[in-house]
Symmetry: C2
Subunit: 245 residues, 2 copies
């Protein structure tokens, strides 16, 4: 079956969520690493937990709640304006170095985002970073009020893009998302941004794993769900070879 | 409304999941802390993610999958027998110092466990540690094939114990579980095993937060869900005062 649409996860796949560390460190010197990692870990947890509780808040709200949790937990007093400046980074995240070139190489196919992000923050993000010029569609889970990896989120691909699951290649660096898409029945490419060897070497070289290493351990390796992706790629630039070859 | 049943979470509330560190450190010296924390964090993630994907595996399987993930990620080769010895600790976890005394003080009421644990591992655990003598019931989510904080899990309380939600005090030290029970509509006591002040002092005293501190940050403070529990207690021993007025 020919692949008609390539559907990308946004946060962690096309965009580097770690790029919030520039603003967290600027606002709270010496605390940027801890804030960045705890925030992202709690942000994802909150999507999973809210989905499970049937208590959806959109991703902007979830990102605020998890940032508030993080600052409160660490014991960092902050002003509303600073909080909002940090949040604003989610509308200006750095794309990965391979994002635009990979999208460009897939021109002619339907290129889309399916993201947990709320529609307005996604629309701002792709416009602010110029990725909108390389995408045919940007789909938010807002429409179903539940987050990935719930099947209802992946159903949006057919509903919004008009392509059948077997015509789709889903692309994510988030292992839980790659597994969710595979479990749903899509063809999946997992972007392996940290290899097993590199992570093991990093752990072996440390006296204690700090926040960034803990983040990599928790989030950047393939889950043991028995839902392995069809492709493991080290760069988004490898996609064109799969889709066109 | 009189409280007829006190329903406890097991792992982290009556039982110290950190007590697996004795066996993880014995088997893999110098790695016990990292294994213990990553394992527990991934174990919980796997319950949330499997529930979301509609791909339930029971808690014994989930605990095996998350332990395998952990050892693989860190790069620790292991023999099957060692893996099984570590897993076996889940049938012999240490109860907290206040568990038996608190249950004893609630004698006369219906005392029960509602746990993510599979029925056989829970039954073994309460028998091996003598808590079975102080409990009228032990309910596993196995019956509904979905984990807390899904509402279906909390519905088991009425279904299995024959008490109405308003007759129940639900007790958990896991903030996500306390919030889930509150969201479902139960009266909830959260056991605050680490105070905000203690955790902030711990973080302030460290150059980098290690695995145990990261665990405390991620798991041991109240979530920012707007689902705050009715009671915040520092010990299970405070329950009798609430229940008996």
């Amino acid at each position: 079956m020919t692949i008609k649409a390539i559907v990308f996860d946004a946060y962690g796949t096309l965009y580097d969520v770690q790029s919030v560390s520039s603003i967290t460190e600027e606002k709270f010197p010496g605390k940027g690493e801890l804030i960045t990692q705890v925030w992202r870990l709690k942000q994802l947890e909150y999507t999973w937990l809210r989905s499970q509780m049937g208590a959806f808040h959109d991703f902007w709200a979830v990102s605020q709640e998890s940032l508030a949790y993080t600052l409160d937990c660490i014991g960092i007093p902050y002003e509303k304006a600073v909080f909002e400046e940090i949040m604003a980074k989610y509308r200006h995240l750095d794309p990965y170095a391979d994002s635009i070139s990979a999208l460009e190489a897939l021109k002619g196919k339907q290129r889309a985002i399916l993201s947990n992000g709320s529609q307005d923050m996604l629309d701002d993000l792709i416009r602010n970073t110029g990725l909108n010029a390389h995408l045919e569609a940007c789909v938010s889970v807002d429409a179903v009020q539940i987050f990935k990896p719930n099947n209802k989120a992946y159903e949006l691909i057919e509903d919004k893009l008009g392509v059948k699951p077997e015509e789709v290649l889903f692309v994510s660096s988030n292992a839980f998302d790659a597994c969710g898409a595979k479990n749903f029945g899509l063809k999946v490419a997992w972007i392996e941004r940290v290899t097993a060897e590199a992570l093991r070497a990093e752990i072996a070289g440390l006296d204690k794993a700090g926040p960034t290493t803990m983040f990599k351990i928790l989030r950047m390796r393939m889950e043991h769900f028995g839902m392995d992706p069809d492709y493991r790629l080290s760069s988004l630039n490898e996609l064109a070879g799969i889709v066109n070859g």
